[in-house]
């Protein structure tokens, strides 16, 4: 069935580098996308979202890019810090639904 998924299960970077976490979705009915960060032992925390009528949205040190043509979503983290180490989930809302469907997650490891 259609689902949200992630290309890389683990991403290791050096402190100060930029990180890019990718997500593929296959449900063309999705019109709202969210990135969540989950630190060890905690619940998911909202990072940034984007609606399908946009292709880029920027926050503080984070940028989300949406490519609807290839159904691809990415999260860019600038100047990655050790505190960014966590599991990152992309989630999608299908049009008409208010329930985020989570992907499997990518573990980001930042080395000092």
């Amino acid at each position: 069935g259609e689902s949200v998924g992630l290309h890389l299960p683990t991403l290791s970077v050096q402190e100060g580098d930029n990180s890019i976490i990718n997500c593929a979705y296959s449900n063309s009915a999705s019109d709202y996308f969210i990135w969540y960060k989950q630190e060890s032992g905690k619940g998911p925390q909202f990072i940034i979202d984007i609606r399908s009528n946009m292709d880029k949205r920027q926050g503080q040190r984070v940028t989300v890019l949406l490519n609807k043509t290839v159904k691809h979503l990415s999260l860019q983290i600038a100047a990655t810090q050790p505190g960014d180490s966590a599991v990152y989930f992309c989630a999608e809302n299908q049009r008409g639904s208010y329930i985020p469907t989570f992907g499997r997650g990518t573990s980001l490891i930042v080395h000092p």
Partner: protein
């Protein structure tokens, strides 16, 4: 900063027993959710609740599960006759609106770990 709180943080129970997981959503929020996360896997939607009734539920949320808002602050998930495969982290979440004016951001609690033996 307001937050969603969950109790207990960890519960161990015997197979076949009933458990109740409790959540206190953010006080002015209107929409409430339960998700679960089996260790190392993705976060799965169970149920959403609004205006004192279930608004959506997933295939996972069968007759074994029920939710209730017994008073103005608590939101509970009851799991009857627990099975080994119910072992997971259960997250409660709340939000003020559903994408009407805000981002639709869900605020999650820190979770209740359920271990069924």
């Amino acid at each position: 900063e307001p937050e969603v709180t969950q109790t207990p943080s960890h519960q161990v129970t015997q197979m076949g027993q009933e458990v109740i997981l409790r959540c206190v959503p953010i006080s002015n929020h209107l929409y409430f959710y339960w998700y679960r996360q089996i260790l190392g896997q993705k976060v799965e939607f169970l149920v959403s609740f609004y205006n004192n009734e279930i608004s959506e539920k997933s295939e996972i949320f069968d007759d074994q599960f029920s939710v209730e808002r017994p008073d103005g602050s608590n939101f509970t998930l009851k799991i009857r006759s627990t099975k080994l495969e119910d072992s997971a982290m259960y997250f409660c979440a709340s939000t003020l609106t559903q994408r009407t004016t805000n981002t639709g951001e869900l605020f999650f609690g820190e979770g209740s770990r359920l271990t069924v033996l």
